[in-house]
């Protein structure tokens, strides 16, 4: 009788342990399934060759008597129409594209409602005080 009680006690321990193991495993499997399916390859760029080409070509474009780069260097301002043309090339792909002349080393943080950091940015130095840069932000749908 005493032996039987001991056997029942041991079996109950194993049954409970089995249930606990199965519950933990099932939970892990059910958690792994949605995580595994939601994993995506991050193909968003950190740099953008085409944006670099566009910006450098834009700065080499003649506007008035000189190229845009020299005009900006002398303190001139960006022509809104032509800069919007460059920004427009990235409108569909990015949430926002901004071409701006900014104080040196400050371009990565911009005021667009709130402070944001450019996902991709291309800078070209104008002088000791200013840079010209193209700041691109990813649209949520590209994530």
């Amino acid at each position: 009788m005493i032996n039987q009680k001991a056997q029942i006690g041991e079996t109950v321990t194993w049954v409970v342990a089995t249930i606990v193991i199965i519950v933990i495993l099932s939970f892990s499997v059910f958690v792994a399934i949605p995580i595994g399916k939601s994993m995506k390859f991050d193909s968003n760029r950190k740099s953008d060759l085409l944006a670099t080409k566009s910006l450098t070509s834009y700065l080499l474009t003649k506007e008035g008597t000189d190229i845009i780069y020299n005009n900006l260097k002398k303190g001139g301002e960006l022509n809104k129409q032509s800069s919007e043309r460059i920004e427009g090339l990235y409108d569909e792909e990015y949430y926002v594209a901004l071409l701006r002349v900014v104080p040196k080393d400050s371009y990565s943080v911009l005021e667009i409602g709130e402070e944001v950091e450019c996902a991709v940015d291309v800078f070209i130095e104008l002088n000791d005080e200013k840079d010209v840069g193209l700041c691109l932000l990813w649209e949520e749908k590209n994530e």
Binding site: N3, Q7, E10, T11, W14, A17, T18, I21, I22, L25, S28, V29, A32, I33, I35, G36, K37, M39, K40, F41, S43, R45, L49, L50, A51, K53, S54, T56, S57, Y58, L60, T61, K62, R85, I86, L89, E92, E93
Partner: protein, 154 residues
């Protein structure tokens, strides 16, 4: 005698549990890492960059004779290879310079899917850039790449 019998049953039980745990771990790993990554966007980006580099010489568009050479022999001039393990063409590339088509290469049938939506269809990617030619005239070059590879991303 009874004690020995219980031990045997518990040993078998132990192995069953061990097998269940191992099977669950293998299943979780397979679920987690088994889903194929769709890298067509990254592939298209790499291809577009390669084509953009091929069409330009530094910051300038190549001259007409060089562009003609690229038009005539696009794949070898731009160091591209459209061969895949499938018989059916998996790529289509279209290059438009200021609204006029200058290069069209690959499986043109893939283009039909560009305005369709769905997961198991070829993916279309399009990027543009601004460039000056040798005479400092500005141009917009639009590169469209369509990649099929449906089977690999099923």
């Amino acid at each position: 005698m009874d004690k020995h019998g219980t031990d045997k049953i518990l040993s078998a039980y132990w192995f069953v549990i061990l097998f269940i745990v191992a099977a669950a771990v293998v299943y979780m790993v397979a679920i987690f890492y088994g889903t194929p990554y769709d890298i067509r966007k990254a592939e298209a980006d790499a291809m577009i960059n390669q084509i953009a580099d091929c069409l330009t010489d530094g910051n300038h568009l190549k001259d007409d004779s060089q562009i003609q050479k690229i038009q005539d022999n696009f794949l070898s001039e731009c160091n591209l290879n459209f061969n895949t393990e499938w018989k059916e063409g998996q790529y289509y590339v279209e290059i438009i310079k200021d609204d006029s088509l200058i290069i069209s290469k690959g499986n043109i049938n893939l283009k039909d899917y560009c305005d369709k939506k769905g997961d198991k269809i070829p993916k279309c990617f399009e990027r543009s850039f601004y460039v000056l030619d040798q005479n400092k005239n500005s141009h917009i070059i639009k590169i469209s790449v369509t990649i099929r590879k449906i089977e690999k991303n099923d």
